[in-house]
């Protein structure tokens, strides 16, 4: 019974959420807090804060943790399965069908037309990231890290992993006044 509820909650929030994991967080919230009442608002926002403190897809972390908390290890596996697998199957079916017809002119046309849309979606996402950075780091901080990243990635050709680990290290080691002031506010 409980496992069925877990499956329904995460299947629904996965299948109805467009625009990637972060945009389906409100849907997960509705299932977990309102429909099934497994958590109150405060606990949910704690879990969200936790998930945000860790790398990796946000939705699967939320699903896995909430599933684990509600239904143990099986609940976790169940929630992860319900979140990820149905949409992956959809994706494989759709792309396999398209690939089978990729030599026909109309499918080739479809594939050409969709690339600039992907470019626009990514461009918008890029801009969102810059605006969000500006909001928290200010223009100066944002531009400095943007410039460092361009140099490291494009001019020096260093793997992004090294850049990100370096930035994470800088965040952990920094003891600037700004950091402390931010800490007092929270």
């Amino acid at each position: 019974m409980k496992q069925r509820d877990i499956f329904i909650a995460f299947f629904r929030s996965g299948m109805l959420g467009y625009g990637g994991g972060p945009s389906s967080i409100p849907l997960v919230h509705r299932e977990v807090v309102q429909t099934f009442k497994w958590m109150d608002d405060e606990e949910f926002s704690d879990v969200l804060a936790l998930a945000n403190a860790l790398p990796g897809p946000i939705n699967t972390k939320m699903a896995g943790y909430i599933g684990w908390r509600v239904g143990g290890v099986w609940g976790m596996l169940n929630a992860l399965f319900a979140t990820a697998v149905p949409t992956v199957v959809l994706m494989i079916v759709l792309l396999t069908v398209l690939n089978a017809y990729k030599d026909t002119p109309w499918v080739a046309g479809m594939s050409r037309a969709v690339v600039p849309v992907a470019g626009v979606l990514l461009g918008v996402l890029t801009w969102d990231f810059i605006v969000k950075s500006k909001g928290s780091l200010g223009w100066v901080g944002t531009v400095v890290i943007l410039a460092i990243s361009v140099i490291v990635l494009e001019l020096l050709g260093i793997h992004p992993a090294i850049l990100i680990v370096g930035l994470l290290g800088a965040a952990l080691l920094s003891k600037s006044k700004k950091t402390e002031r931010q800490g007092e506010k929270t």
């Binding site: 996965g14 467009y18 990637g20 994991g21 972060p22 804060a49 936790l50 403190a53 860790l54 790398p55 990796g56 897809p57 939705n59 699967t60 896995g64 943790y65 992860l80 990820a84 949409t87 992956v88 959809l90 994706m91 494989i92 759709l94 792309l95 109309w106 499918v107 080739a108 046309g109 479809m110 594939s111 050409r112 037309a113 969709v114 690339v115 600039p116 849309v117 992907a118 470019g119 626009v120 979606l121 990514l122 461009g123 996402l125 890029t126 990231f129 810059i130 950075s133 943007l146 990243s149 992004p160 992993a161 990100i164 930035l167 994470l168 800088a170 965040a171 952990l172 950091t179 931010q182």
Partner: protein, 176 residues
Amino acid sequence: MIYWQLFLAFFIPGILGYGGGPSSIPLIENEVVGRYGWLTVHEFSEVLALGNALPGPIATKMAGYIGYQVAGVPGAAVALFATIAPSMILMIALLGLLLKFKHSPKVKRMTLLVRPAIAVLLGIMTINFFASSIEGAGYVQTIIISIASLLLLEKWKVPPAYVIGGALVYGAIFLG
């Protein structure tokens, strides 16, 4: 060997993508297109566009499909596992510690400092997508489709799934 490569290709973006699935997209591209050459830029952008047209988390859809294309169903399973499991295990293992530090300014700063770097990765990928589009569909069509989809998405707030659906229909008719 191929499974180990698949694991690494999705483990690295999974463990370094701060800020949820979308921020790991350029890291996935870096591995899948740049390092292993499993997909071309054009193919990757197609997978991303269709991934955006379908519901659900984007990182797992990309991992599942690319894993499947490279090595069938076991490949999909390995790529999904590499995407989900490491951060999941971290989350459960570090739970106590994280609950204590979740409001720590340092932990918040980690996401803040990584964000501009992700923006640059996304920006580079955007440029690659447009370059690939100009190669495939030409300047004129690329500009028409880009401006139309930018207006639809940002000005008129049409959901991405419909814009992508519209582009598919447009392409089938005018670019075939």
